[in-house]
Point group: C2
Chain length 342, copies 2
Amino acid sequence: MPELRLNIATNDWVIISTERAKRPDEFRTAEKEDRHLPPYHETCPFCSGMEAEKAGGEIASLNDDDGRWLVRSVHNKYPALSSEGGLEAADRGVYHTMNGVGAHEVIIESRAHNLTTALYDICQLEKIVEMYKARYLELSRDHRLAQITIFKNHGESAGTSLEHPHSQIVATPIVPKHISDRLRSARDFHDEHSQCVYCAMMAEELKSAERVVAENDCFAALEPYASFSPFHTWIIPKTHRSSFGGISAGEIKSFAAILKETMARLYYGLGNPDFNYCIRTSPVAEGEMEYFHWYTAIVPRLSKPAGFEMGSGMWINTSLPEHCAEFLRKVELPALQSSVIW
Amino acid sequence: MPELRLNIATNDWVIISTERAKRPDEFRTAEKEDRHLPPYHETCPFCSGMEAEKAGGEIASLNDDDGRWLVRSVHNKYPALSSEGGLEAADRGVYHTMNGVGAHEVIIESRAHNLTTALYDICQLEKIVEMYKARYLELSRDHRLAQITIFKNHGESAGTSLEHPHSQIVATPIVPKHISDRLRSARDFHDEHSQCVYCAMMAEELKSAERVVAENDCFAALEPYASFSPFHTWIIPKTHRSSFGGISAGEIKSFAAILKETMARLYYGLGNPDFNYCIRTSPVAEGEMEYFHWYTAIVPRLSKPAGFEMGSGMWINTSLPEHCAEFLRKVELPALQSSVIW
């Protein structure tokens, strides 16, 4: 019998399809980890040496002791939103329009062309997260910006054709409905239970442990009970905080460690799948909110939404989150990496 | 300057990206219309002759004068939801679960393996819409079912690998949040303006005409002002009605005609793109609602959602709806078809 599961944080129901269910190992993709990329590619706009020519202008960088950049933030050369201009709005008949002001930055994660999140050494990943935080805080001082979305696209089916590892930051002048809906659901739960819904979920998960992928002092990585797709994974901070901008120096180290471990389990377990991740955080103008909780969602691109998802907004997940978590926990990680991270 | 546009029916903002904008003809895909499929394929489960063996059991059919089926509804052999069982719900710790009861049917649209919506003769398309209505009304008598979603997936990037033309119907035991959110937005608009938001949009569109793709006595096909992706098209009935189940015999003829014309403009203009369409309609248990309006959404799969869409729920549309509509209006349709349809 298939099962409907409610995501209590968003009030979305998901169909967990037992009739169509696959074993976790059936989601393994072709052996893309064997696709050897060069560490440097002469036409890549993000490789070292192309700073002035091909990437957008630099906004910030974190450097090594010799002054060479380790992580850079640059302007997106084809920005979705313009950093210039004011917040003019206009009505056109029954419709509403607003100037497309905002920010669109690219975080070049590494000098190396051929790395990805699973393969960085832990110090590099800490630098990347430090850059996320620095750019988040800087952008949050711009009064025109209402919501800051930090995300990464890896691989063609995840929406990028650029191989060089990079993340992006888009800041919008409005709070998207998607976010305000989540805030409302979380507030409703808090009104009823006097508790943050994400804290409640995490407590439940750490107690049962069956959907936990990894855990350290500050974070838990888990497959949500009502995952909408196979291997959809959340990384949740154990300390309640609604804004990513408040992440502490100690948490940055823990976050880098658990992000690396989780991405490595996906990389080696599933054969370097295409994926997106995003950091969900509260709107810029809100202070600390007791009912919302920042977290990172990782979605390997292993299934395609189709007409049913479009029409109903519901998803059919052809895997069991418990099985996916167990599979990921059992992935054997390379010893060298292990010694660095764990 | 990019532009933010508000979808006043759903309260979603969309980024219309002028920096990244493409011309409508740049969305033309490789010439898939030249990919000649055979009219019959011996291993296809939906081709004539496979009725007993490979497709799921028949639920209903519409036949020709010789008793041969023209359109069939069959059980999905790998249903996402089970037609047996009651509406049992259960709590698991903080979580909620429900039996996956519902319905999952396949509408085999034609005996011919190699046709698609754009290529049917108009009588065939009327039969398909008649079948949609008959199945909708039959399923709406099952008190366990709350929402009926009728949709079609065409092509691999739209989520199907089965070539034989087919649609699907999934009936869920709950009203998806996606639908209840739309109902709330529409009700809010009605409270403020004493008017159905879809009626208001259609009046605006027919007045300006710049985003209209096709129009007949009972329907308008248009590119919404805040389209979330290129060539996203809505077909809206001119008579206000919240449920697809109430479509009249005259409207079925008009709907088949405008669906055919719209799909033909997409097919010839863009080179047989992969697409999904779905019929959005009110929940089964609701009577006629003055604030909601059924319609059909058609989404050619020309862009991929990525990390930004996942994180923010907003879309970046790299085309202007006005340009897409103008492009589609100018597509030259084959004369033979023209003489049949218009």
